[in-house]
């Protein structure tokens, strides 16, 4: 590959923009609703979304709402582990498709070992990580380790991030900036008032990489509202629920465009 994995994320989002679309970042919890079908589900999402986030289940998902909590607990009950996830991801990335990031709380990554994680992840074709309980001040060790393999550590910002801090967080971002739409956990349906769009505009001005909005995005109308203010939107709980209902993720994601 001629470009680093973290650059592949931005390239995928830029390609969507060139074709006049807001990029779709699809999230699914690894091994949910079915451990056996996960590889097919992941391949389907990777074929339909511009970027994919695979949720590594954790026992204490404090930033997540009820849907992803439920998915995480069910996946853990199904015996899902990070080594298993890397194997499944490797099988899917071998066939190409959208860049895949892992979204994981810090502790499963610490248990795997920060020394061996980046190489194993890069070998599996992972493009980067999103770690919701790792704030900017605590990230140096993981960021350094991921940098060595060219993997992104995606930075989250929120509507309550103070302006100067926002600048600092964005300036050093890799992959994309994950702009959380609201205070709260994942999944709760968010309205998209004008001040949220103004905040997205501020993030976009500060960020040298694409900006994707996430948390509570469930409908085509919401996606349309963000168009022009962000480069992409993250669809998480709604996609997890569609998979849970047995719907084809390709059709569901197409319905949001």
């Amino acid at each position: 590959m001629s470009i680093a994995p973290h650059e592949a994320i931005g390239a995928a989002i830029a390609a969507a923009r060139r074709s006049g679309r807001t990029a779709l970042v699809g999230f699914l919890t690894a091994g949910f609703p079915s451990r056996d079908r996960f590889r097919d589900d992941l391949a389907a999402v990777a074929a339909a979304a511009d970027v994919v986030e695979v949720g590594v289940p954790f026992s204490d998902p404090m930033a997540d709402g009820t849907t992803i909590q439920r998915a995480s607990f069910a996946a853990l009950a199904n015996g899902v582990t990070l080594p298993w996830i890397l194997g499944e991801v490797a099988a899917v990335t071998a066939a190409g498709g959208a860049p895949i990031l892992l979204m994981s709380y810090l502790n499963p990554l610490l248990a795997y070992g920060l020394e061996r994680l980046p190489r194993a992840a890069a070998a599996a074709g992972v493009a980067g990580f999103i770690v919701p309980d790792l704030p900017f001040e605590e990230r140096a060790e993981l960021r350094g380790a991921l940098d060595r393999e060219g993997l992104a550590l995606v930075q989250m910002v929120t509507p309550v991030t103070p302006p100067q801090r926002l600048e600092r967080l964005c300036a050093d971002a890799r992959g994309f900036v994950y702009a959380v739409t609201m205070t709260g956990t994942t999944g709760a349906s968010a309205e998209v008032p004008a001040d949220v769009l103004a905040y997205m505009d501020r993030v976009r001005r500060a960020a040298p990489v694409p900006v994707c909005a996430g948390f509570g995005i469930r409908t085509r109308e919401q996606v349309a509202r963000f168009a022009g203010h962000v480069d992409g939107v993250v669809v998480g709980s709604a996609l997890v629920e569609a998979l849970e209902r047995g719907e084809d993720p390709r059709a569901f994601l197409a319905s949001l465009r």
Binding site: M62, L106, V157
Partner: protein
Amino acid sequence: MTSASGGDADTVASVPDRRGRFGPFGGRYVPETLVAALDRLQAGVDRYLANEDFQAEFRSELATWVGRPTALTRASTLSRRWGAEVWLKREDLAHTGAHKINNAVGQTLLAKRLGAKRIIAETGAGQHGVASAAAAARLGLPCTVYMGAVDVERQAPNVGRMKLLGATVVPVTTGDATLRVAIDEALRDWVADPEGTYYSIGSAVGPHPYPYLVRELQAVIGREARAQMLERTGALPDAAFACVGGGSNAIGLFHPFLADASVRLVGVEAGGRGEGLGDNAASLTYGTPGVLQGSYTLILQDEHGQVRETHSVSAGLDYSGVGPEHAYLLRTGRVAYEAASDAEALDALVECARHEGILPAIETAHAFAGARRYAATHPGARILIGCSGRGDKDMPILQRTVLEGLA
């Protein structure tokens, strides 16, 4: 990372650093949404903890509403039975029945000054919930308490007390439905409203600055006990014991003694029904380093970093993690930690009740069990026990365990 070597008192007393690190432990592992809220809390702690007006109001509330200083009781019969000199620091006599009120009053006063519109809290045994509800009622703030559904059932008397004090009690049914998931749920509430809500955490756990803040508010226990021991006996204790779940009463008792190298400090964890993962809640005894609920500490987890459910007969100790300062004090060797089983704790509870006329909380009874063990190998030792709370709340579980055994 600071290396944690030796038990040097000056080093031990100077933690945490500005980043909230106790040696390698502590820190602040939270979603970005909470960073600004924690920065505001830190600024409030810096501004008010050393502020004379704040301290005057805190001292006044402790003296006239909480009932401090709490008594130091000589346990004459236990002394004779154990062949030691046993003293009890009576936090069970504090308003609402446990040491938790010291922290709840202090944090609620701080919340008022920071302009909070509501207080949220988690609770295990219900004692921090009751203390938070009482402090919020007194200071005129609405209060919501998250409590695991299992704990709601086994600590039913405290649920009623919280409701009478005007609090909303939210049962949490995820996971093992005990303290850990109650903290997760409180964090989710706070994430939803980081600017208007004050999260009054009940133990010396969580992201910086909570472990420091809670220690400072609870250190009144050890300061009083140290002065009372000197006044009553002319000497410091040879050893001091406290139970450890999250570890707030233990750090409160121990911290003022850290520089007294002659005083052996022992934290007693919940040994539950055995050593296996899931059979106890003894994170310092059996845990490994990891990040849980905002801090890097010792936790009970599997090889994949999944935090495991715990078991203890005592709801207040039934927690997979522990305050980061205890992990540090274990590593430096300044404090020793050991586990007492469910059966040992219940046995110690009955002994204290029968012979001293004091019904301690089941949590507290773990400290008695540790002290009794120590006395057996140290005849004549002067022993201080942190009697952290009273056992009235434990009647449903005592009915099923001890009383039915007696019948």
